[in-house]
Every structure is written in C-alpha cells, then in structure tokens.
Amino acid sequence: MKKCLAILMAVLMVFGAVAIAGCAPKDKPDVSQPDVSKPEDTKAGDVEGGDKKDPSKMKVVALLSGVITDNGWNQICYESVKNLSEKYGIEAEYNENIAVSDMAEYIRTYAEEKYDMIIVHGSQFKASAEELAREYPDSHFCLSYGFRVDESTADQVQDIPNLAYVGPVNMGVLIGAIMGILTDNNKVVFLGGQDIPAITDIVSGIEEGVRLTNKEAVVTTDYLGTLTDADLAKERATAFINDGYDVVSASANTAQLGCLYAAEEKGVYALGFNGDQYGVAPDAVVLSVMRNYPAIYEDVFLSIAESKWKSGMVVYTLKDNGTIVSDWHGWDEKLPKEKVDAINDVIQKLYKGDLGDY
C-alpha cells in the first residue's frame, strides 16, 4: 500500500509540473478579491447608457436550482416569470434542476443571446453570477438572495454595475410578530429546511419579531435537514407541539407542508409560507406570509425597461411590499377578537414603519 501511494504521489508530481509549465494560468478571476479592472465611471445605482426598452420586447429567463413544482423557492420564481409573461406578453422562460457546476454554462448561453434580464435564483450561484456578470456587461443579472435582518449580508455583496442582489427582507420579523400574538402557551417554533441564506434570512428575524408583540414567549428556531421529506417534517413538528409549542411555522419547500399537517392534526395554529397555504390545512393555517417575488421582479423588470436599474443590494422591505400577507379565509371570525385586532394592528404598523425600520 505504501508503494502504491508513493507511485501515485510521483505521478501526480509529474503531472502537476507538466500542467503548470505547459500552459497559461487559468483565466478565472480570483473571486475573493475585488476586480481591479472595473470601469471607473459606473457606480452602484447607475447603468451605462440607459436606453428605454419596450417591455414586450424584453427577453427574460429564470434559472432555477430545483423543479417549479416544489411548493416553495423555485415555484415562486416561476410564478414571477409567469406574471411577467401574462402582463407584458413576453415569453415565460425558465430552466429547472440546474446544478451549481452547470449554472455558469446556462448563464453564458443566455448572456450570449443578449437576454435583458437573467434571474439566477439562489445564493449558491453567487460565484457564477458574479463572474459572468463581469464578462457580459450588456445583460442585467438578478441574483435572488436572502438578507438577514442584522444587515451582515451587506459585506457579501460585490459592486458590479449589472448585477443586483434581489430579495425581500424582514419577513421573519413579520412572521414572528404574528406568532407572538397567536400563542396561548407562550411557546412558538419556526423550522427551517436547511441552513442556507434563503432560509436563514427568515430565521434571523423570528425572535426579533416575536419580541415586538410578546416579551415572554419561548422562541425556538431550528432546522429540519430536509426540503423534501414531508413525513419527517410532520413528525418533527408533532414532537415540538407535544412539548407545548402552539404556533408552528416553517420554511422548507415541500417538507414544510408536513409541519402544517402536524399543526392541523394536533389542533394548534400554523402560519403558511411562500404561498397561500390555507388550503393545505384549513383548520390550522391562520395566515400565510409570502415572499412577493412576482411584484419584486416586476419592479426590477420595469426598472430595466425604464432604464432605472439599480445594482448591488436591491432589498424590498415590508414597506416596499417585499412580503405580503394572505387573506384571513374566515379565520378573523374564528379567532378571539383581540387577537385579530392585535394582528391587524401589528401588520399595519410594521408596513407603515411605526415599529421601527422594517
């Protein structure tokens, strides 16, 4: 075995030497360092030579990490391009199941064809989006991103004139505030699917939100470790409910539906997320909180058409309608009146900015 390793090492050395001597260094920019060759005259917030465009002639594509039927992250992006297609008569183009290692290839294909707006849906594609945005300055790149409430995300954003990091912020605060009112036992739980920016951003705001309406409640946030195993999610949520938690919410694509079922089965409150999920568990889902990507991307789309494009962090706060709340679906009759009033009140105040800058 030692001999084997020794031979292996020797062969690798030879190849390493040949490889380095034999060819030019790779033309991949070192992502950790800011690009020095950036043109001086373009600053964040401007775009070079802005011609107005006819919205119906614009070409838009959404590049997704999963399938458009995942009841969550990817589906909401599909809804966004569909919305654009219905309103402006453009083609609703999307590509599914793109592996991280393939994203660069997809982006390149659409950038070569001078697409006006390329939505790269997910922070795991950050490196590819940044690299290719520099290479293709004529296309506008939107990287769907998760922003934490503490603004620590700002350090991660690179200043590239045709790349925007787009997303709502403070959804977690809104969810937390509602959960704080709903609870009778003073125990609420929010379960994320995985520790990734598009979920961590919500988790980061839950506690702050609950504190706006409830000073005593125990707030637990944790992760399920799955986005597809709804059965496991259901049992995990049931375990929390059995421990006295009486308000459940989750962000885990399909798996989160399991949490809603658990709440219905056990007779506690739940909040839907990502879509109006009242229909999933009508006896549990009081309200649903939704990322308003359709409106957000319509806004970005129009900003390109009207050449008002902004690069860098393009954050939609509650005030900017980045997040929306569903209809009551009759729950305002079923809940105690003081809770309904309190929830309506806190939602209004949050959107107006009365409780702080959300």
């Binding site: 039927t69 009841n71 589906q75 520790d195 597809t228 496991l232 421990d243 539906l257 229909g279």
Partner: protein, 308 residues
C-alpha cells in the same frame, strides 16, 4: 406531560413511520428469498407514491390509489424480472437504473397529471381507523390500535408472509429457488416462474409502502419524497436476518432513530441539525455491523441462474 403518555406517543410515531419501511422490506424479502437482489425499492416507492395520488385524485378513492400504485409497482417489477431473470443482467445495475427511472419519471408524470399549481392538489387519503375497546388501553392503546388501515395491513402481513415462507409448500419452493436454483430445478420447480412471481408480488408490496407515504402520512406527491426509505428497507431485511418478524423489529428500530432526533431537537441540546440527520443512517450501519455476521442470506442471492 405524563411520562407514560409521552412514551405511548413515541411508540405511535415510531409505528406509523415504520410502516412504509416495513412494507418495502417485506416486498424485498420475497425477492431475496427467490435469489434476487433488488436495490431499486426507492424508485418503485417513488413511482407508486405518484400513482397513488393520481389514482386517488382521478377515481376519488384512496383504495383506487393503492390499486394503481400496486399496478405501477408490478410494471417496475416485471421490468426488473425480464432483465435479471430472463436476460440474467446484473441485478445491482438494473436496480440502480430503476431508482433513476422512478425519480425522473415520477417528476415528469407529476407535471403531466397535475400541472403547475401553487395550491397543492389534495386527494382522498387514509383516515385513522380506531379499533374499539383496544384503542382505549392506556399507554400502548393508541399506538397499536388507532392507526390507518394500511398500517394494520403492513403489520398483519408480517405473520402472513412468515407463514407463507416457512409453513407452506409454495413458500418452501420459493426458498429452495433462492438457496439452490439448480437443485430446485431438478426437483421440478419452475425457477423462472417462481422468480417472476416473487418479483412482481414483492414489487407490489413495496409499492404499497410508497402509496402509504403519499396518501397515508400526507396527501400529495412531492419530488423525492421517499427520501432514502427504500435503502433503509434494504438494510432492514439484512438486520432482520431475512425473517418477517426481524424486518418488523428492524424497521421500528431504524425509525426510532428519527424519533430520537426529534426528541433531541425539541430538548434543545444544541447538536447541529446535520448530525441529527445522520442518526438513522449511523444507527443502520451500527446495527448491520453487530448483526450482519449472524444473518444468513439465501445462498444464491444476487447470482443469475442459467438453466441447463
């Protein structure tokens, strides 16, 4: 909460979660005893989970869903049998391809059947069937006697399959095919027909496990919802020493891993969730290392048989 009641609750969860794995394990067992090693249970369960929702949706009854799921399972089983029995192809490779096919085909057909909707298509699902009196037994009553019908079916299949395998003539024939097909052949047993039957019936039982996931525990189909249970069932068969009762115990122990991670997370002990995710799998490996050496597989498991 009362401690005994809590334990009863864990048991209830454990039994419910074990049912799909148990069904898949029993299906695999029939195939294994006929000498066929099928790692494609995951794929069969996935296509069955979709077929169950489709059947329940289009015919309005969850039992029609089960029927359609078992039909889909039978088709996959037939495909496996043609390739591995008649053509004597490598069973692991065919099984792996079944997994790929199950995942991709269920995703594709899901869209063909249900389109792309934000609202989840809800279908008729199993209701809890409480057995009078028995379900009132303290602690274990609810766990054992307030489950869905298909859970009872899964557990009733354990003695049924045990009786079939070890107490009946066809069961003996099946096992002799798995032990030594050549001898079985000379004794006048039709080896190929036995293997075909075992594969098709076995796949149908596996499919029932998949159907339970989509129309029992939940009532919709989602991509990749089986999440590794087909593989856990494979391990349960070995851990259960190729006996139905053993598989039952194994399925309950492996799924108890999930109960443990639930308890740990609720208790807030601060273990990263990624490690909690590993628990059922680590438990499976440990169980295999301790018990595998004592499990005696059918002697001709995985070896293609060539007549004459």
């Amino acid at each position: 909460m009362d401690l005994l009641q809590t334990i009863g609750g864990y048991l209830f969860t454990d039994i419910r979660m074990a049912a799909p794995v148990l069904l898949a394990g029993l299906g695999l067992l029939l195939m294994n005893w006929s000498g066929l090693l099928n790692i494609g249970a995951e794929g069969i369960m996935l296509i069955a989970a979709l077929a169950a929702v489709a059947g329940s949706h289009f015919f309005g009854s969850v039992w029609m869903g089960l029927l359609l799921a078992m039909l889909a399972g039978a088709v996959f089983g037939l495909l496996f049998a043609v390739l591995t029995v008649t053509l004597r192809a490598n069973q692991t490779v065919v099984g792996a391809a079944l997994n790929i096919l199950g995942l991709s085909l269920s995703t594709t057909l899901n869209r063909v059947f249900f389109g792309i909707e934000t609202t989840v298509t809800k279908v008729d699902a199993y209701k809890v069937l409480e057995i009078p009196l028995l379900s009132k037994i303290p602690v274990i009553g609810r766990a054992f006697f307030a489950q869905m019908p298909i859970v009872y079916i899964a557990f009733i299949l354990v003695p049924v399959i045990h009786y079939f395998l070890f107490k009946t003539k066809p069961g003996l024939n099946l096992r002799s095919v798995g032990e030594n097909p050549r001898v079985a052949d000379t004794l006048g047993i039709n080896v190929y027909r036995t293997q075909y039957l075992a594969t098709i019936v076995g796949s149908m039982i596996i499919a029932a496990g998949g159907a339970f996931l989509s129309t029992g525990l939940l009532n919709f189909f989602a991509e990749d919802m089986v999440a590794g249970r087909g593989y856990i069932a494979l391990a349960a068969v070995i851990f259960g020493k190729y006996r139905p009762t053993g598989i039952m115990v194994a399925a309950m122990i492996f799924m108890a891993g999930n109960v443990v991670s639930n308890v740990l997370q609720v208790a807030g002990v601060g273990i990263p969730y990624t490690f909690l995710t590993m628990i059922p799998y680590v438990l499976t490996i440990i169980a295999l290392t301790i018990f595998a050496s004592r499990a005696v597989a059918p002697a001709s498991l995985g070896k293609p048989y060539k007549r004459g």
